[in-house]
């Protein structure tokens, strides 16, 4: 709620002032707290699990104030530059953004891996893998294209993609592997998950782009389709990709300012490291069990002291 009074006075007497910068009026850290950490919340549940636990530890164990900001990935990166975001706590690749913001603009730094491995791939519901055992190899996909026809796929098989901000090479893959499929964009993660749930509930064929860690796997089983193996550099030219997605080492990115002046808060974000199972557990609390982020984090923190104790910087 606090306002930069210099800027307010400038607002009243514009002449003679230096003009307002884009961060004028941003809240200053509130009194009685060691400082405020601005945490970006990207729009998927796995990310929220990381953020919930980090927020809980920062507030309850280290005494910081945490401001969470719900932002898409790209906009979060812009926040490093404007000072609106201190940390992104689950980043999937984004080499282009790393180049812009870490190397060129020098406003962000890498804060190490989260310990989670990100897998992207094509999936079918379990019942399809049972009924058509050879469907899990891309070489047989053309044989089954007819099954995946929908009103949107123009006579071909449908490959359903998700939110446009997720990493995808699917159009190039379909073209280069000569698959008789059309990529249909569902446009959001929620639409993708709903389609997957219906495919299981109604025993309806579905081939879709998906990823792990993902809370849906705690409820239902989906099987990954094997694509030509990934080799280093095989995805260098986005138009010629004909291989599987690499495994992503998910990492944390923080603003340069936070790395320099964030103290114990920065150390905690840097030390944070857990497994896919840990994350899936918290995600399960958040989704299937309907807990608030705070309650989910509290439950996990009470039950996993051995995991998070080493994250707390010495002297706290």
């Amino acid at each position: 709620m606090r306002i930069s009074y210099v800027a307010v006075v400038c607002l009243l007497l514009t002449a003679g002032c230096q003009g307002a910068t884009s961060d004028s009026g941003d809240p200053a850290p509130s009194a009685g707290s060691k400082g405020t950490v601005n945490l970006a919340i990207n729009p998927w549940v796995g990310y929220e699990s990381n953020a919930a636990v980090i927020e809980y530890l920062l507030e309850k164990k280290l005494g910081y104030t945490v401001e969470t900001k719900n932002l898409k990935e790209e906009i979060s990166w812009q926040g490093f530059e404007t000072g609106e975001v201190d940390a992104i706590v689950e980043n999937w690749g984004h080499d282009d953004l790393k180049k812009t913001y870490i190397e060129e603009k020098k406003v962000a730094v890498d804060a190490g891996p989260t310990g989670n491995t990100g897998i992207i791939g094509w999936y079918v519901p379990q019942w399809m893998a049972d009924q058509y055992p050879d469907i899990t190899d891309w070489k047989n996909l053309n044989k089954y294209a007819g099954l995946f026809k929908t009103s949107e796929s123009g006579g071909k098989g449908q490959l359903l993609d998700g939110d446009p901000s997720y990493v995808t090479n699917d159009e190039a893959l379909v073209a280069n592997l000569k698959l008789n499929y059309k990529v249909v964009y569902s446009g959001s993660e929620a639409a993708l998950i709903k389609a997957a749930q219906q495919a299981t509930a109604q025993k309806k064929p579905l081939l879709f782009y998906f990823y792990e860690p993902q809370w849906l796997f705690a409820k239902e089983k989906y099987v990954r389709v094997k694509l030509p193996e990934y080799t280093a550099g095989c995805d260098a030219d986005p138009k010629k990709v004909a291989c599987d997605y690499p495994e992503y080492v998910l990492d944390k990115i923080v603003s340069k300012k936070f790395a320099d002046t964030g103290g114990a808060a920065y150390q905690l974000v840097k030390n944070f490291k857990w497994t896919n199972d840990d994350q899936n557990l918290v995600s399960d609390y958040l989704t299937n069990q309907g807990m608030t982020p705070e309650r989910a984090a509290e439950k996990w923190v009470t039950e996993h002291e051995a995991t998070w104790k080493p994250w707390i910087p010495a002297g706290n």
């Binding site: 709620m1 306002i3 800027a7 307010v8 400038c10 607002l11 514009t14 230096q18 003009g19 307002a20 910068t21 884009s22 004028s24 009026g25 729009p43 998927w44 549940v45 929220e48 900001k69 719900n70 932002l71 898409k72 990935e73 790209e74 906009i75 812009q78 926040g79 530059e81 404007t82 609106e84 282009d96 953004l97 929908t150 009103s151 949107e152 359903l160 939110d163 446009p164 901000s165 249909v184 964009y185 569902s186 446009g187 959001s188 993660e189 929620a190 639409a191 993708l192 998950i193 709903k194 389609a195 749930q197 219906q198 509930a201 109604q202 958040l286 989704t287 309907g290």
Partner: protein, 638 residues
């Protein structure tokens, strides 16, 4: 996402002004020309149809918008335009939001409820006051008090700004001819601009958070304020003004003592409609990190939890109904006199000071709603799949194929010819220019795909809306029963019902059509109902006494006489369907909607997304001009 519309008890909030009277001919000759035009177009289509190349990923327009973005990013903290303009605007709006929010929060739970009740009692009477108290209590009962107050604060800040800017502009537009005519096309475009298309440019200029949200809401809501104010001031009887002028009133006195007081009911209506429009936009701005109920909905969607989204959606509907009824009642009556108002307000102030806790019984509809949607999703699927495939296969796909394979120049010529025939040369030229603009943006194929979806959705909207509107006009009890449903359908954020729609219809264009129809039907129903009810009772009686059956009465008397209202309904239906194109992009409709969504989330797609936003606006201008001209040149003026 409510578009301005006719509300029962108010004058039209739509466009005003004289139309072009070109091509007033006998019906026979118009029909012949029309037939010739259709045959010529069909012939040209068969001769020239072609399968177009897919839209390029790198058109000149996209690169231009990308370069704009880079320039803004580089100069945000150095260029005077930002240092002394944009950034101050952001700061000022931020102060306003913080002040409003601090005032609302400062009153405390019991205090805010009491103040809401007292203000409603003073301005709108005891019924409205009871409703306000019950509504505000329900926010706490739903467990959404803080979020509701945040949403209310953003809405009030945006409405305050809209009124401060919109009322003076509306007065000027009504009094100074050239200002009125200069504003009209600008307002048209602002109203057609789909809500989501605002968001990317807003974050570019004003970054994320409340200030950007309020400014986006302001842009969306202020045309409504201006239009209704203009209408109200222009509607003051000239005789009254002349009488006052004859008694020696100055111009200022004429405005403050005569025009404004006489336009008071319409001005309150302007505030009412501004609130409704602002509230719907505030929810959408959750996508650029505005606080409030929108956040709950967006989050619930991430978790595919329709029930949780429903609770937040219900709070929004309640807020909309409370604000609507209170302001509507306020427009119809005088406020309490001071000797009564002061004690009421003092009592509310007392409640603010009293230490009353905020413990209320909790109630959530999440679990039953989730059970219901799960059941529906499981059991209706076979039927909905059939419906989707039928509409897509027999209506949507052929139409899309026709539009996509038509060369762009032939399409422009057809728009021009069709426009000349039904809407006058001015509207035809504007519509054709809009079509050329779409082609120039480099998104022709996507635009035609979107147009096909929009046309099918509009057809279904009109079919359902006109039928329901006629039924409501003929059966009073039905109309009363349907009214809250319409309110809910119009104010419930579309996000809430998108997921069940995806479950039933898959990620598809048809899902987008369903969402658009739900959103666009209510105003069509209201306009049609009002059009029919406005047919003078003497005419109806005359027809009845001449022995008309109810069916004859409807088809020969009521519908022809309500033509103006019907055509306005068609126009509003199209505009509202267009507003949902981007939402369609979130559920698998692809084309322009998806381009906008992608541009919003991927840096490399920014230029393309912005171009797609403009393409949607141009499509809107095209359809709006054609249909608007239609009822202006031929129907009774509305």
């Amino acid at each position: 996402m409510t578009r301005p519309e006719l509300r029962p008890g108010g004058p039209p909030a739509g466009r005003t002004g004289g139309g072009d009277r070109w091509g007033v001919r006998g019906p026979w000759s118009t029909r012949t020309i029309f037939a010739i035009l259709v045959v010529a177009a069909a012939g040209a289509y068969l001769g020239f149809r072609s399968t177009p190349a897919a839209d390029s990923a790198d058109a000149a327009a996209f690169r231009f918008f990308d370069s704009v973005r880079e320039w803004v990013d580089a100069n945000r903290d150095s260029h005077p335009l930002f240092l002394f303009g944009v950034n101050y605007l952001r700061l000022g709006v931020r102060l306003l939001v913080e002040a409003v929010s601090a005032a609302l929060t400062g009153l405390g739970f019991a205090g805010l409820v009491a103040v809401a009740g007292a203000v409603s009692l003073v301005l709108a009477g005891w019924r409205a006051a009871l409703l306000a108290v019950a509504g505000f209590l329900s926010f706490a009962v739903l467990g959404l008090w803080t979020e509701s107050v945040d949403t209310l604060a953003l809405t009030l800040a945006a409405v305050l700004l809209s009124v401060l800017i919109g009322v003076p502009l509306g007065i000027l537009a009504a009094r100074v001819r050239w200002i009125g005519s200069a504003l009209r096309p600008v307002l048209d475009v602002m109203q057609i601009l789909p809500t989501f298309a605002y968001l990317a440019p807003m974050t570019l200029l004003f970054l994320i958070g409340s200030p950007a949200a309020v400014i986006a809401t302001l842009i969306y809501a202020v045309p409504v304020t201006i239009r209704i104010t203009q209408l109200g001031i222009a509607g003051v009887a000239p005789v009254t003004v002349e009488a006052a002028a004859a008694q020696g009133s100055t111009r200022w006195q004429l405005l403050t003592k005569v025009r404004l007081p006489m336009a008071r009911p319409v001005l309150v209506l302007a505030v009412n409609q501004t609130i409704m429009v602002a509230l719907s936009m505030v929810v959408v701005t959750a996508l650029i990190d505005a606080p409030g109920l929108g956040q709950n909905i967006v989050r619930a969607l991430e978790r595919v939890n329709v029930g949780a989204a429903f609770d937040a959606g219900l709070a929004i509907v309640i807020m909309a109904v409370v604000l609507d009824r209170v302001t509507t009642a306020a427009s119809r009556r005088r406020p309490l006199p001071w000797r009564l108002a002061v004690p009421v307000l003092a009592a509310a102030a007392l409640v603010v000071l009293l230490p009353i806790g905020d413990r209320v019984p909790a109630l959530s509809f999440a679990a039953p709603v989730n059970r219901l949607t799960a059941w529906v999703e499981l059991h209706w699927y076979a039927g909905t799949e059939w419906l989707k495939n039928t509409v897509t296969g027999y209506l949507l796909n052929p139409l899309e194929n026709l539009l996509v394979t038509t060369p762009w120049w032939l399409f422009v010529l057809f728009v021009l010819g069709f426009g000349l025939l039904i809407a006058g040369w001015r509207a035809a030229l504007v519509a054709a220019a809009a079509a050329v603009g779409v082609a120039a943006l480099g998104l022709w194929v996507h635009a035609m795909q979107t147009l096909a979806t929009v046309l099918v959705a509009t057809a279904l909207t009109l079919l359902g809306g006109v039928w329901a509107g006629i039924s409501c006009a003929r059966h009073d009890r039905l109309a009363t029963a349907v009214r809250p449903l319409l309110d809910a359908a119009q104010t419930m954020p579309s996000f809430v019902y998108l997921l069940p729609a995806v479950a039933l219809f898959g990620a598809s264009r048809f899902t987008a059509i369903v969402a658009a129809v739900i959103f666009a039907v209510p105003p069509v129903v209201r306009l049609v109902e009002r059009g029919i009810r406005d047919v003078p009772p003497t005419v109806v009686e005359a027809a009845l006494s001449a022995g008309s059956t109810p069916r004859q009465l409807l088809w020969k008397v009521q519908l022809p006489m309500a033509r103006g209202g019907l055509l306005l309904a068609a126009n509003q239906g199209i505009v509202m369907v267009l507003g949902m194109v981007v939402v369609g992009g979130l559920v698998g409709a692809g084309a322009l909607g998806y381009d906008v969504v992608a541009g919003f989330s991927q840096r490399e797609d920014f230029g393309r997304g912005l171009a797609a936003g403009f393409a949607i606006v141009l499509l809107g201008v095209l359809l709006d001009r054609l249909t608007q001209g239609f009822h202006r040149s031929k129907g009774p003026s509305s």
